[in-house]
């Protein structure tokens, strides 16, 4: 198998470096420059990593679904490699999202966990992502692994809004989500810096992880068959 055409590692490293810089700047601004929130105090500052994690977790899962669709529709190992990388990125961010949510919930709501639609949907999404990654690790045939996990990703992605609305009907406590439109100006800068920081960092890491996945698949599939000599088909 010939390695699929992937983004240059230099681009990936540049994105990682940009992500780290933006996160450093965003964290400094969020911790030392941005004013203290009137009701929640310093606890509110977790929003500067929590909200960017939420946006990017959903974005990475959506992109993974796009790669899954593209693999099923058009084929190509590059789509499968990116699918695997994005699934892992989405799982990491979903896990961080649950942890950050719990850390914020304890001083604010008095409990580590609440059965709020977004928190519960994130937990379900994390478990679904871990299930798909477990499926990938349990299938040895690269073609079956790519097709089955692509199908599982599409099925799980469709489930996310249904889980959200069913849990919302079941129970709801979460405050309205934060966005640049709902928070005052001094809070927007660190929120935006960190959002783009997480995006660049996870984008760079996903590109690097896709290269690892592509190399593993190339090794599993073995070398490409030699080209057929001219006229061989006629002789046969």
């Amino acid at each position: 198998m010939i390695l699929p055409r992937l983004a240059s590692p230099n681009l990936a490293f540049a994105l990682v470096a940009l992500g780290v810089l933006l996160l450093l700047a965003g964290s400094y601004y969020g911790l030392f420059v941005s004013p203290q929130e009137r009701y929640m105090g310093d606890v509110q500052r977790i929003m500067y990593v929590h909200v960017p994690s939420a946006w990017n977790a959903m974005l990475l899962f959506t992109l993974a679904m796009g790669c899954a669709l593209a693999y099923l529709w058009r084929g190509g190992w590059g789509w499968d490699a990116h699918h695997e990388a994005l699934l892992e990125g989405a799982a990491v961010l979903s896990f961080l999202l649950c942890v950050q949510g719990s850390i914020w919930a304890k001083p604010t709501w008095g409990v580590w966990w609440d059965w709020d639609p977004r928190l519960t949907t994130t937990a379900v999404m994390l478990l679904a992502l871990l299930g798909i990654l477990a499926l990938r690790s349990a299938v040895d045939d690269p073609e079956k692994r790519a097709t089955w996990s692509a199908v599982a990703t599409i099925i799980a992605f469709v489930d996310v809004p249904i889980v959200y609305f069913s849990v919302r009907w079941w129970n709801s406590l979460h405050q309205m989500q934060s966005s640049p439109e709902t928070v005052s100006a001094p809070f927007i800068v660190p929120l935006r810096l960190n959002a783009f920081g997480v995006l660049a960092l996870m984008g760079g890491l996903a590109l690097l992880r896709a290269r690892v996945a592509a190399r593993r698949t190339a090794k599993e599939l073995g070398p490409a068959l030699p080209p057929m000599p001219a006229g061989a088909a006629l002789e046969a």
Binding site: V124, A128, G131, A138, V139, I155, D159, I162, V163, S166
Partner: protein, 221 residues
């Protein structure tokens, strides 16, 4: 339609011939129901309050055994590959298997309801509506369950893989079916039953269509 009937007949015949295994699944479900009561304690009111949830948890846990078993025969001696050689669209094979699994799960639920009545006092004034709910909930479990079982039957660690994939996906089924069952057992003064049944019906509509479309991809590789 004749092809679908033949495929469904084959599935039902297969289930009938392995009925001894069905009995063990029923015993498993009843045991799960019994064990759940120990988590609450001997408070009759609390047990009745949570009876709907216990019933659907027992059914969900038992469903993995049923779904796994329905695909076990297909993986022996590459029977599935043989089936695919027949001039039958894979979608027909999927729907036949999913309908057979729905019937089996609904019947399992119907057997577990009397156990729940005895253990938790979960009587309902609308037994037919409860049976309809069992069929709808079983359909919600069976469509994605059949698709996932077809994948995991041919993967390593299939016993753990199927629940890992299925359980997060069917959270809306569990929520809607539990709420609807509780309303049937405890009463529905606010007339909320229709909303939960709509959610369950919507889930079934989406996943019966989606899984039917996807089945061909996972078996024709």
């Amino acid at each position: 339609m004749n092809v679908f009937r033949a495929a469904l007949y084959k599935e039902l015949l297969l289930q009938w011939r392995t009925r001894a295994r069905v009995l063990s699944v029923v015993v498993f479900g009843a045991t799960a129901l019994l064990l759940m009561s120990f988590a609450i304690g001997p408070d009759a009111g609390a047990l009745r309050l949570h009876a709907g949830g216990f019933l659907w948890l027992a059914l969900l846990l038992s469903s993995t055994l049923t779904l796994e078993a329905s695909l076990e025969a297909e993986t022996e001696q590459q029977a599935l590959e043989g089936l695919l050689l027949l001039p039958v669209p894979p979608t027909i094979l999927f729907y036949a298997k999913a309908v057979a699994n729905t019937l089996q799960l609904a019947l399992l639920g119907a057997v577990l309801v009397p156990v729940a009545i005895v253990l938790y006092g979960a009587e309902t004034a609308r037994p037919l509506a409860l049976f309809g709910l069992l069929v709808l909930g079983a359909a919600g479990l069976a469509a994605p369950g059949t698709l996932y079982a077809t994948m995991t039957a041919r993967a390593r660690a299939k016993q753990t893989l199927l629940p890992l994939l299925l359980f997060p996906l069917v959270v809306p089924v569990l929520i809607a079916a539990t709420k609807a069952s509780s309303l049937l057992i405890l009463g529905d003064p606010m007339r909320q039953l229709a909303a939960w049944l709509t959610l369950l019906g919507g889930f079934c509509g989406i996943y019966w269509t989606l899984c039917g479309l996807m089945f061909g991809l996972i078996v024709e590789d």
